[in-house]
Amino acid sequence: MSDLQSKRTPWLLSGPALLSYALLLVVPMLMTLVLSFRSFEPMLGVQDEFVVSNYIEVFTDPYFHEIFLRTFVMSALTAFFCVLIGVPEAYILNRMRAPWKGIFLLMTLGPLLISVVVRTLGWAVIFGREGVISETIQFLGLSDGPVSLMYTQTGVLIALVHVLVPFMVLSVWASLQRLDPETERAAISLGASQFTVMRRIVLPQITPGILSGSVIVFALAATAFATPAMIGGRRLKVVATTAYDEFLHSLNWPLGASLAVVLLILNIVIITGYNRFFERKYSQVFES
């Protein structure tokens, strides 16, 4: 094989994937970027000129500030609760015996096979004025009228945590596989209690898994559309649903595009910053 040919082969082999990647991801993103710098006239539609007014609007209007802040807080809380639920879940799953281990793992990860829309609809049924929660509370006499978690921050949060917790379990599960169970025994033999083993031996070793899991969950929560749209609706907008409304209801495509671009950039900044911070903190221990 000639030198030229051997240099070309990897490119030819990865060509089809590269092409579809470029066509389906890079091009639409570039078009969104270009679109975000266009102006919009309510009567005339998108104008073919270069302006930064959309960005100025996004950065100065308190209405958008509130939406961005809400999105950030909700994503951070979702990641937080996913850690709280997903870490013990993964640990317990990992210690189960066959066949229970397999059955429960399937039960945990199975929902990933079902559409987010379906899973969120389930919550809508539970949260509604005539839903299970409302009926139960009224039956117990805790409230006079119907109670609804629909269109509330709590409702969106519960549904998001439920939808995203499998990603946390997967991520922690992966780092638990690398954990040498003998280190737990070693600590026990040295006199550590079960709680100390958990806190001093297990948790520090699965920290990379928890960190990457929380990055995944945060990113997915910040960009989630279906769940906030169905539970939060118009009354509780997040960035993704706002951008959608700008595109489809106000028909202000440039403003929607600039919202999307700002969300993307903020997400990248937050995630890389978070990664950098923890990588530096743990590099001593986990580089290999």
């Binding site: 025994r185 040295l190 550590a192």
Partner: protein, 351 residues
């Protein structure tokens, strides 16, 4: 009573009997090896002593206290795991100090004692490193220091040297022996490596199928194996069988004088003969055979000789003055009758 006493210990896993009614007494300061092939129950026995497994039957008494049902965290034993099981997120010093921290030893004292333990295993310069920055041999030493620093009642070693390369393993064998002598901790080591067990232990318990076949000093176990299994598991051995009558052993048409062994007549007798006990000789050989293979190992030669008694393995130190023996050559073999070990005997039936 002995310092550590295992009495009639058994462990069943459902139908499978991993350890079958074994008893073992260990004196204070003694170094005992549990030696056997995989699946012989040696690791299960160690885990029951450590407290990670509960015996199905029997009792374990340590220093007069019955610890059979005690939690592993309360037994106060030092354990060196096969893969060391160092805490990867802690420095070497923190690893070693962990056991003292659990014992609520003050910070200054525990760091001081951890440093001393690391000096003992010659790792005084590596205390700030993380385990992954150390070689296998160094990790092994950290694990040993971590187990010893708590002044354990017992030191348990689970195949401690099996992950090291051959050269390092020999060095560590000597060092392990030396450290254990100096510290004087009663030690139980599990191993499948006979040379390791021979090198470091005061006594060896040879195990097979969940039972102890023989327990004795290394020299005795090697020189006076009580069973076929022990003789073949510890070192190489040549076995052959024949019929004894009137002070002569008849094997495959050959007659070998064994009158100095004072054997009763028997129909079927098995003998074991160590390869290093056989020597080449030109006059009055016991048997003769043809050299089929030879290997030079530096300090010694290994020969394979086809004889009427079967294939014989012969070790000869590289210190012999006779001419070089070539493959295919016919040689005479001899040995002292006392070196033949009787391992099974059936009294002569009147045929």
């Amino acid at each position: 009573m002995s310092y550590l006493q295992l009495s009639n210990i058994s462990k069943h896993f459902d139908e499978y009997v991993a350890v079958d009614n074994i008893s073992l007494s260990v004196e204070k300061g003694e170094f005992i090896s549990l030696l056997g092939p995989s699946g012989c129950g040696k690791t299960t026995t160690l885990q029951m002593v450590a407290g990670f497994l509960n015996p199905t039957a029997g009792s374990i008494v340590l220093d007069g206290k019955n610890i059979t049902a005690m939690k592993p965290s309360e037994r106060g034993l030092g354990i060196v795991f096969q893969k060391y099981a160092l805490f990867p997120h802690m420095t070497v010093l923190e690893n070693v100090a962990f056991g003292l921290e659990m014992r609520k030893v003050g910070k200054n004292e525990r760091l001081q004692r951890a440093r001393e333990a690391l000096e003992l295993v010659h790792l005084g310069l590596f205390i700030e490193r993380y385990p992954r920055q150390l070689s296998g041999g160094q990790q092994q030493r950290v694990a040993l220091a971590r187990a010893l620093v708590i002044n354990p009642h017992l030191l348990l070693l689970d195949e401690p040297l099996s992950n090291l390369d051959a050269k390092l393993r020999e060095d560590m064998q000597l060092e392990l022996h030396d450290i254990q002598r100096r510290v004087g901790t009663t030690t139980i080591m599990v191993t499948h490596d006979q040379s390791e067990a021979l090198a470091v232990s005061d006594r060896i318990a040879v195990m097979q199928s969940g039972r102890i076949e023989q327990i004795d000093k290394p020299f005795n176990v090697y020189e006076h194996p009580k069973s076929d299994f022990v003789s073949s598991f510890l070192g190489k051995t040549n076995t052959f069988e024949g019929r004894v009558s009137h002070g002569r052993l008849q094997v495959g048409g050959q007659h070998i004088a064994v009158d100095d062994l004072k054997l009763a007549d028997s129909s079927n007798t098995r003998f074991a003969l160590r390869p290093e006990k056989i020597r080449f000789c030109s006059d009055a050989p016991k048997i003769s055979g043809k050299v089929s293979n030879r290997v030079f190992l530096g300090s010694q030669w290994i020969y394979e000789v086809q004889t009427p008694l079967g294939d014989f393995l012969i070790y000869e130190s590289n210190n012999q003055k006779h001419d070089e023996i070539q493959e295919g050559e016919t040689v005479g073999l001899s040995w002292d009758s006392q070196d033949m070990r009787l391992i099974a005997e059936e009294p002569a039936s009147h045929v």
